[in-house]
Symmetry: C2
Subunit: 297 residues, 2 copies
Amino acid sequence: MPSIIVHGGAGAYEPGKEHERGLLAAVDAAWVLLESGGSAADAVEAAIVMMEDDPIFNAGLGSSLNLEGVVECDASIMLSDYSAGAVAALKAAKNPIRAARLVMERTDHVLLAGEGADSFARKMGLPSGDLRTERRIELHRKNLRTFRDGGEIKFMPNLRGLADEMGIGTVGAAAMDAEGRLAAGTSTGGMMMKVPGRVGDGAVIGAGTYASPHAAASATGHGEAIMRHLVAKGAVGAAGDIGVREAVESALEIGRFHGFGFGMVGVEENGATALGFATQAMSWAERTDDGRRTFLE
Amino acid sequence: MPSIIVHGGAGAYEPGKEHERGLLAAVDAAWVLLESGGSAADAVEAAIVMMEDDPIFNAGLGSSLNLEGVVECDASIMLSDYSAGAVAALKAAKNPIRAARLVMERTDHVLLAGEGADSFARKMGLPSGDLRTERRIELHRKNLRTFRDGGEIKFMPNLRGLADEMGIGTVGAAAMDAEGRLAAGTSTGGMMMKVPGRVGDGAVIGAGTYASPHAAASATGHGEAIMRHLVAKGAVGAAGDIGVREAVESALEIGRFHGFGFGMVGVEENGATALGFATQAMSWAERTDDGRRTFLE
């Protein structure tokens, strides 16, 4: 009884029909694999690739732009056997989640960042391209105007004004396959106007993505706070004792206590899915033996 | 009653007089600050700067070289108020721990990597230079010969043959100041022959470094395993309930269960220090009101 649950980001936005379409395409792509005996890792990768290729999400094509107008993507994947791979500040690979999976499978490392990550992706033969969209370029121009200070762009704008935007459009997935293996993954262009080289929770095992033999989860929201509190590790660690649904709720409580918002999807060893968010909105979809559902809240 | 504890790496080596000298210089530099009312963050930074500047350690000057013979440093710092900063794959800044602290204090981010991190360090006015030493260049030549495969260097050598070398010479510190504030930090050149862009546990909050109002800790050892299991977060999280000494022991048990070795130093809210390792050797030193001690095991 496999299951797949995906999210399209948490924050202050109004998920619409395009998000729903993208999320359903992602769970459908994963489900085809899961039904034919594909692994949880295959399912998570396929779901996230679909969303990376869809410019409505802030991942792969359509990623947000950093302070210098450049795309720098973060992505990570982890399996229930504790294997893990991630990339950070990847500039050109079209599908960062594929690069993350190759780090896991083809190197002795967990995380590659910056030019080294791009070089690795090229050597692995992954397609690259310009991931900027017209919408993102226009948004960047607007941000530059907002942050212009006395005729000059500040070296590092105070990003707290953008807090509500932070997790918007990040994508993630958690899946269980027919053999009971679990996987989770996350992919994101990160926050708009970030300092070049900024690595967010989406690239950090334990922060945005975590998995154990008991559960797997992907989180998104205020990235820096998620990194300081390792929310995905926290939820997955608790899931073995209290189940993934209570574990997600308990993680959200920690966020509320420390004053930051995020959303999370997860799956546990019996295939049950879980989701929760403490932000204005979140979008997600799932497919299990009970059928296919989307949620736009 | 302030206290400071530092380590000079865990692994398979024989700590000698030079390590002892370097570790004592580090705790002395920190102690001067702590005695005159300096913060735990100041003490951790000062101790680590001393060790980064000492070529006997694998941090700052004398860092190990990656597959291409280039230095790429990781460093991180975290305080008991959950503020945190880190840099990864930093190529030229002489004191990566200072760059990590500036990320914490001067940006809205937790982690900067690659060229973005170097650019940030330059803009902050941090001195840079060539961090390679003759000893490291010679070791790299030897490694290239070892990994040469049919006349060609493999794109990614299997690094498991280097496992014992992994945590050697990484440095870290944990301190409590007179006001009871805690801090921990870690700095490293990472593993020899790593793939360019590889980010290790020393740059990851929760893996190599963590702090909470109850405890602060720095870990070193098999970096990728430390990242997958977030050992510093685990120990610091447990310290509130069982004390930092038992928490370090308990973290080492997790390492033994999953089959990887590491060492750790920590401090807790009452100023008690803790240390432990599950590798062949580890070197450390501490200074508390009870006096100054070194350990080379």
